[in-house]
Symmetry: C2
Subunit: 382 residues, 2 copies
């Protein structure tokens, strides 16, 4: 295993009714005023907003609202949050929603203590040196943002979907109540399954050295996602399946599955970010399109690991059978596997390639992912 | 999954040469003076002591030495450490050694800030409310103490081997350099393998509800230990095998394998603690004797999970084949499987039962582990 540092300071509060203690967790840090960030009005209709604000008030915590965060969250909304956080002198950010709400909250938390433009952090022009403390109640299991130090935001002006990564944006306390995730639509459940699988396979296939123990943890996460997605499609109320799905999502991107791994990259995310940035495709949907295509292009680079994947995930013996079975499984659960299912046609490939190539440079993998290669992969996704 | 809180604040520094930065990590916390706790003079002979003290001095950190910690660490030595920590007003404890050294350090760290008798914490008469910060360089992969909040110490006067558990004794920084673990004897390597397997199976078999995802992580750890132990017995210098063994040991008892698990207990540890306390048997050796015996007694209580174990660990189809294969594997690697191999004979069973029954009461499982049951299990270990 290659040398690593691991320090994940997030406190996880997992289970039923945990959201009722959010006020106590915030008050325990001596915080009196928060920016309460959320997405649609769904949390108001379902009562979660009332539960949260009641807990805040009970604990003497004031709040300022920022609603309206959308999937593929937008930089303009982050700016709005930063302005509000500064204007109201909030002491922390409370995110109530899915990964987009939490990612926006992380950007707001860093931006609120920065004199310059928060986008500087995404373009690596500047480094995050501090951030307001972040608390969250995660209502969609997918991104793993609840236990990691990264966030992804789309700049709608430049059409770039970029990320930040800083130890200052680890959430202080994350509340994961699987019960609150029951109301997620079937559509978003299957997109989330694709997202967790994508987080799992990037390092697994691309690493120049991958420890077996880490591969086995990853396979445990993928197998869990496959099994529990099928259970939840049949019965959304299965609490234990919902729990295991949620925990697999958290574990897939909290750092534990990248420890001791050498020389890996995130090509599927890199390409998918272009689909989201250009066409507002749901992140998980874009990933289920890109992954099989990328795998077909990449398989010869690491056939041994693809055979292992085929064996341990699908009990198949060849690399190609593994890829094809994953693709069929995506199709079966109802997440797209072709660009056309996202309304994207052959004529768009040039545009996607240009955008993705900029991402490749940003990710530091433009030597491998030339425009020709990107086009080749995208053609496989037609 | 049942509700849980997970918050593991330990920073892990894993890999080659990491011990050279120990002084920087301590200085970063504003600490000027430490109690340097270690076991035998081995660390002096091998140069580790010089590396560590050089790093301390470079960073302006004074140290007071406390050597001579033994396996199954003794309360008397903990008292000595507490007296020294108080007399020299040290600000932190630095443990350089295996689990016994670190467990003693944790007890010293808590005892140094307590006016009463540190043993009160072990008998649950008093609760740990604070502790000096703990740093460690772990030279034996086995106990998982480097990333958890527990410690086990033997009171040689009362012949009790008991534990403490408190968030205040999580190490602040733990250094795991697999290279430093190469000099561990083959004997201690195989005892350590048994210890990690024991940490893995207690919850796995005894839980009233056990999530599949957690079971899969546990199986990944056990499979890693089995595979890497065999590699290391043949080639102690295999760095990657040493790394994976070390990481499996850490993961097996850092909390992650007990999340969402309901109604579990530690019967194998409970019985083994009596062997260590009464006969100073090496902990791992005691465990490899007790585990197969306990499994044979317990198998009918949870046959389904034993079949899963047999399948996933040894590719066997029946519960008993799984148990027998584990026993044979212990025998093959050279860790004992019978009491007689530890010099303990049938005439001692009554004495062990009395001691273990006190442990059972302490662990809160005396209803199940009556004296009759304990005797039955011990007879299976003859």
């Amino acid at each position: 295993m290659v040398n690593f540092t691991f320090h994940n300071p997030t406190k996880i509060e997992f289970g039923n009714d945990k959201e009722k203690q959010i006020g106590e967790h915030i008050a325990a840090e001596g915080i009196n005023k928060v920016l309460l960030v959320y997405g649609s009005e769904r949390i108001k209709k379902e009562g979660l907003f009332d539960t949260v604000t009641a807990s805040l008030l009970e604990n003497g915590i004031e709040y300022v609202e920022l609603g309206g965060i959308v999937s593929n969250p937008l930089l303009s909304k982050v700016y709005e949050g930063i302005a509000s956080a500064k204007a109201h002198s909030v002491e922390a950010i409370l995110s109530v929603g899915g990964g987009s709400v939490l990612d926006s909250s992380k950007a707001i938390a860093a931006g609120a203590l920065y004199a310059g433009d928060v986008w500087d952090f995404f373009t690596f022009k500047s480094q995050i040196e501090k951030a307001l403390p972040i608390f969250d109640i995660i209502t969609l299991a997918a991104t793993g943002s609840e236990m990691n130090s990264t966030a992804v935001v789309t700049n709608e002006t430049t059409q770039q979907k970029l990320f930040i990564a800083s130890p200052h944006v680890y959430p202080k306390v994350s509340i994961i109540n699987p019960e609150l995730q029951k109301s997620v639509s079937k559509e978003y459940l299957v997109y989330s399954a694709a997202d967790v699988i994508a987080h799992s396979i990037e390092g697994y296939f691309t690493a120049s050295y991958h420890p077996d123990i880490i591969a086995a943890y990853i396979e445990a996460n993928i197998n869990t996602v496959i099994k529990t997605t099928e259970i939840l499609l049949a019965d959304p109320d299965d609490y234990n399946a919902r729990s295991e799905f949620a925990w697999a999502a958290t574990q897939a991107l909290n750092g534990t599955t990248y420890l001791g791994v050498e020389g890996y990259s995130y090509p599927n995310h890199m390409i998918e970010h272009s689909l989201s940035a250009l066409y507002n495709v749901a992140h998980g949907a874009g990933l289920s399109v890109i992954m099989p295509a990328w795998m077909k292009w990449y398989v010869s680079h690491n056939e041994k690991q693809f055979i292992r994947f085929a064996n341990t995930i699908f009990a198949k013996s060849s690399a190609m059978e593994g890829i094809n079975t994953l693709e069929s499984w995506f199709e079966k659960i109802g997440t797209p596997i072709r660009l056309s299912q996202c309304g994207i046609h052959e004529s768009e490939i040039g545009t996607i390639v240009e955008n993705a190539y900029e991402n490749a440079k940003h990710f530091g993998i433009a030597d491998t992912y030339t425009k020709e290669v990107l086009a080749e992969i995208l053609v496989l996704a037609l």
